[in-house]
Symmetry: none
Subunit: 213 residues, 4 copies
Amino acid sequence: MTYLQARSEKEKNRRKKVIVSAAKQLFYDKGYGVSVDEIAAKAKLSKATLYLYYKNKDELYVAAMMEGFAGLEERFKEAKHSEKPLEEKLRNMYLSFVDYMLLNRKFFRITQHYLAEDFDTRISSGAADIVRGEILRHVDYVREMINEGIDCGLLRQDLDVNAFTTILWRTATGLLDLAVADKSSNSSTGRWGEIFASSYSVLMDGIRTQKEK
Amino acid sequence: MTYLQARSEKEKNRRKKVIVSAAKQLFYDKGYGVSVDEIAAKAKLSKATLYLYYKNKDELYVAAMMEGFAGLEERFKEAKHSEKPLEEKLRNMYLSFVDYMLLNRKFFRITQHYLAEDFDTRISSGAADIVRGEILRHVDYVREMINEGIDCGLLRQDLDVNAFTTILWRTATGLLDLAVADKSSNSSTGRWGEIFASSYSVLMDGIRTQKEK
Amino acid sequence: MTYLQARSEKEKNRRKKVIVSAAKQLFYDKGYGVSVDEIAAKAKLSKATLYLYYKNKDELYVAAMMEGFAGLEERFKEAKHSEKPLEEKLRNMYLSFVDYMLLNRKFFRITQHYLAEDFDTRISSGAADIVRGEILRHVDYVREMINEGIDCGLLRQDLDVNAFTTILWRTATGLLDLAVADKSSNSSTGRWGEIFASSYSVLMDGIRTQKEK
Amino acid sequence: MTYLQARSEKEKNRRKKVIVSAAKQLFYDKGYGVSVDEIAAKAKLSKATLYLYYKNKDELYVAAMMEGFAGLEERFKEAKHSEKPLEEKLRNMYLSFVDYMLLNRKFFRITQHYLAEDFDTRISSGAADIVRGEILRHVDYVREMINEGIDCGLLRQDLDVNAFTTILWRTATGLLDLAVADKSSNSSTGRWGEIFASSYSVLMDGIRTQKEK
DNA sequence: CATGAATGAGACTTCATTCAT
DNA sequence: CATGAATGAAGTCTCATTCAT
């Protein structure tokens, strides 16, 4: 019985994966507006079956988002637990965030919605909160690292941690917006690579012409 | 005749204002998703009357957005044309942007949608483009000023203008996101005032601890 | 007072003419579906003013139709009361009907609706009946003449008058349908002229190959 | 699988039939103006369900029309492929057309709309074109037979085929208009039967009194 | 008399969700 | 477990008609 349960549990998870995978493609591509019909069609399952595995559209949407975050968190963990010096770890985190988002542009674009809170009128606010929470959890990876930087004297003592975390985060996402919209170049390489690198330097070095160095 | 026409034109504009004002409150509050019914109810007019003044929901939405931009542009022009030194003008622009958005939080939140491009599936793309265009027009105010700063030697010659404009813009909006979400304090004053001021300084001074000054 | 009344009556009629003239152009062009708004705009009057002169859209529609019939009736009367022999009168009536309709194609097309009775769901049935009655009244001109033809021995005694009237009427309108649809040629002349003439002859002569004459 | 698909296909067709049948009754009765609500009510289904089977009102309308044509075409084919002499075949075609239309008066009335072209402003022009095309396809049955008649010497060589086809067609529909409107008698029998028969003879024999035979 | 303004009623269409098999 | 079928609720928009000035 237990064995069978485990087996069926596994089977159930496989189904869920099929479904969420279809949902992912469509949600990332076209936003929350895709119809459940479309998702069912893509998953080659009946609409009713979707509801067997996911209580409603929102739950499915959240699941699809989580898939995107899972990949990102992996990168963050990698950067965080590497044996590099703190300064390099922070830099790696910034650049690997950018890199991941460039590889998953559609996911990136979707996350941007959550800064705009009107989602609550389309999505049930519960679902929106979960996604927002996930975003914040990831931002925290950065916040922690900056705190560490202050503690160990690498960064200015008087820095407002929250403010600076936001600056970093928003700079990255802002440039990503441009990069993602830039159809002229394969944005994961070349010109944009430099821009991201230099944006990081600017934030770290200061941007004002410096009388002396 | 001309007199009467002018009069009726005026009257018509007053009506439009009543409608757009109702629309503003609802759109800013709940996003594009509000129904025309709701707007009509708030304006205490019949739905059909709305359609007398605005061709469709999108047109009304755009009008509501424009109201928000009008106020912002005023502030920008003021800052731009003041007789202050460039450095101060730029700072004023940044801070008055923040200030305006804190006073018009709901409007602010709505503008954030346009960075997330899936809007085109809800709004007619024409309408979305108009709003996006308006945002870019405002960003240009900042870009111009930074360009000037580079030309006159105030800012580093090797600065990527677009990138830095984005950094500024996104830093401001990112902090605003936090401030707006922060229900604990009246965010237009006190703590947040300092944070915004210092965020600006950080961006200008560099954020890394500086060995010498 | 009587004078003034007369005067105002006249004035009123002038207005009505302005309105009906606008209505005519639009109804004939686009059918019953034109909106009262459009008509008012074309008449350069306010919508409310139309309702001052015509109780509702249907009444206005009927009035517009009557204008078209008036011209046709004139032709019919002319043909009927001319001093020509009966055979020629009948022929003239047929050809002048065709001629008038070719000159007033739009009016012609509109009259065709009344053979299709679903109009009652769009138009108030009262209005439809009036127009239908007017059509029948005109058909009667032809019927009378055919009756006369039978009486004086010109036409077969055993002819079913109603049936043949219909045949004549429908042959004419059927060909008119084709002619009006034929954009290749100026249908009021040349080829079509011949077709109409010969259609009349066919009906009169019989169409079967005749062994002897 | 194939079995099941076939089965469901069949089931689906049955449903479509239920819907189109309701639509037919209403469309034929009251014209295109009936609301989708009404049709749904008559079919005892929800409005949304209709849209499951028919993409929109027009598609449903066209389907309803096609039902009417299907029956007519059967009759035409029968007449055309019978082993009778040509003269009789043509006559049968004429009379079976009349007969069918008298049995399906409402359908008949509806087809008459398509001669009046303003339909395009109510129906999507695509739908109108389909129906018009179907009408012409049926007219062609007659045209072909007349052509044959000319070729084999039965009919006058100098006959304008299009014109005469129209005459036949329009004579039939014209009389049908009268018959259908004639509420006094059961029009499918008796008096009208004679009228139709004689109308055909008149067209074939010539209608003018013939000096000699 | 003339009209600008307002509207009630209704049209078509979409979609997340449920239920019976 | 899987699904085909059904639907309620909601959305945007149109238009003939009325009313207050």
